[in-house]
Amino acid sequence: MKIKKSEVEHVAHLARLDISEALLEKFALQVGKILEYIDTLNEVNTDGIAGTSHAIFLTNAFREDNIKEHMQRDLALANAPEKEAGAFVVPKVVG
């Protein structure tokens, strides 16, 4: 097996997912099959080949640091699941 259930569980935690036992089992199987397929890349000799992360040649997109209009606070908060006093509310972080 290419990936163990416990590894999927570990990765799920890293990705902040909460995956049920039954689904973990299924994902391990499916992801294992996909990773095995991905291993065909090892057939390719890539010695000395630079990687590509972006297909179009572009230099850095710099601009002047000018102050512009920005989204108003009410609008930015409009979709918040929970808000108070102009801020996003989250569950308690420190005990």
Partner: protein, 486 residues
């Protein structure tokens, strides 16, 4: 004359001559939607009242003579393009109630052009899929065969155009998500060069591969929609400051002197449906009859494209989708009593299985100890795939191939077999990896009456040559004029 069956350019002519009004046109499209949406399921949201207001405004501009080619034209927008004040769900529970506070750049452009937005089209959740079965809300059905998939992920867009439930549509293409549904629904679909169209306001899936593009009833409409959405945008740092031609100027008869490459790896002896194979061979002959020269070329790393893509796309997705944490927008699990638990329960209840599967693959491939073996290796092979294209385009002006190895498959047939689903993207993924433009046009039907698409791929920023070849193919054939019986 049925108004909803009009092309954009024909409708524009009638609007300009005052033979029809924008209000009548929008009403006709809304009536068509009313009649067939229950069968097709192309839309997640419909905005009939807003559309009628926009249509009346369009009639005012038409009366004043200040109209453009899209004034009063009813369009469908894939539901991952932000529309200010109009719900944008990405076909996901996690964004089920999300109302964007701003318009995507392409929406600003369409609105400025006077287009009428009738609704938001269904798709695979977060554009992850090839069948539109991964929508959290409902599957979309292929208007040509309701038991089959329309393709994906822009399946709602393609089905809406094919079933005359809009005059044209915008989709997005990360690995074939415009071209493959266009092929399965017998419409024209273009993935522009990476950087040609602003991604500002496009919900991100894989940022180095995503590109917005049109789905249309013919090549002329495709060129008009391209004219409307292309162009540099300072709000997208990967948008390219390249001049945008008037794409309709490429729509001229004659292919003499054009050299078309046929990648031999794209016409495999096995795995290609015989009807698709035949339709493509017929298309090659047709192009030769039209004056083009067809030569065999090789893209030797084709067989690795799926593996490269299914590392790079999930890696980028796992990073992009980290933002759905239940804090600033979207669904939040309210039962959790600490932050980490809130994140975990929010994501797992909000994302569907395919999205979670890809987050797992991406997170795994990027995690300590695996980064070089997966992401590093895939990005190197991506370079080799790009070099294949570069060498091919030294010998020819464009490439011709199938879009998909088979016609549309039945709903449910492979929805739970991710690897088989991924392999069906073999002919379209490479264009995204290389950033080159790709176009899908109707080129035939299988013996069961299912549409077959032809793919043309070109050099960076050379969409014009693809449109020219497609336009000439269209002049010589009538596949694009055939309509599904609904």
């Amino acid at each position: 004359m049925k108004l909803h069956e009009l092309t954009i350019h024909h409708a524009h002519e009638l609007l300009r001559k005052k033979e029809i009004t924008a209000l009548e046109l929008t009403q006709a499209v809304l009536a068509r939607i009313e009649a067939v949406e229950a069968q097709v399921g192309a839309y997640i949201s419909l905005f009939p009242e807003e559309a009628l207001v926009q249509a009346r405004a369009a009639d005012k501009s038409l009366a004043m003579g200040t109209c453009g080619p899209l004034t009063g034209i009813p369009l469908a927008i894939k539901d991952l393009i932000c529309t200010q004040g109009l719900r944008t769900t990405c076909a996901s529970r996690i964004l089920e109630n999300f109302i964007p506070p701003y318009d995507a750049t392409v929406m600003q452009k369409l609105k400025a052009g006077g287009a009428v937005i009738v609704g938001k089209a269904n798709m695979d959740e977060f554009a992850m899929g090839s069948s539109t079965e991964h929508s959290a809300f409902k599957p979309t059905r292929n208007p040509w065969e309701l038991a089959s998939i329309p393709g994906g992920s822009s399946g709602g867009s393609a089905a809406a155009v094919a079933a005359d439930m809009c005059l044209g549509s915008l989709g997005s293409d990360t690995g074939g998500s415009i071209r493959q549904p266009a092929a399965h629904c017998s419409v024209v679909g273009m993935k522009p060069t990476y950087g040609r169209v602003s991604r500002f306001g496009l919900v991100a899936f894989a940022s180095s591969l995503d590109q917005i593009g049109p789905l249309a009833k013919d090549t002329t409409d495709c060129a008009l929609l391209m004219n409307a959405v292309c162009g540099y945008d300072p709000n997208d740092s990967t948008s390219v400051p390249e001049p945008v031609p008037d794409f309709t100027t490429f729509l001229t008869p004659g292919l003499k002197g054009m050299k078309i490459g046929i990648p031999k790896e794209y016409l495999p002896a096995q795995g290609l449906d015989p009807d698709v194979d035949q339709a493509i061979r017929n298309a090659i002959r047709r192009m030769q009859d039209l004056g083009a020269e067809c030569i065999e070329i090789s893209l030797p790393h084709t067989r690795y494209a799926v593996a490269v893509y299914y590392v790079i796309a999930p890696c980028e997705a796992s990073s992009n989708l980290a933002r759905y944490d239940g804090v600033r927008y979207g669904f939040r699990d309210r039962q959790a009593d600490d932050l980490i638990q809130m994140y975990r329960r929010t994501k797992s209840q909000g994302f569907g299985p395919e999205v979670q599967r890809r987050i797992i693959i991406g997170t795994y491939a990027l995690s300590a100890g695996y980064y070089d073996a997966y992401y590093g290796k895939a990005s190197q092979v991506r370079t080799l795939i790009m070099n294949d294209f570069k060498q091919a385009f030294e010998r020819c002006d464009l490439l011709l191939s199938p879009v998909a190895p088979t016609p549309a498959f039945p709903i449910g047939e492979i929805s739970d077999d991710p690897l088989t689903m991924y392999l069906s993207d073999i002919f379209t993924l490479s264009a995204n990896l290389a950033g080159i433009p790709g176009l899908s046009i109707p080129c035939g039907f299988s013996r069961n009456g299912l549409p077959i698409g032809l793919q043309l791929m070109g050099r960076h920023f050379d969409e014009g040559t693809l449109l020219k070849a497609a336009y000439n193919f269209e002049l010589a054939t009538d596949f694009h004029k055939q309509k599904p019986r609904l």
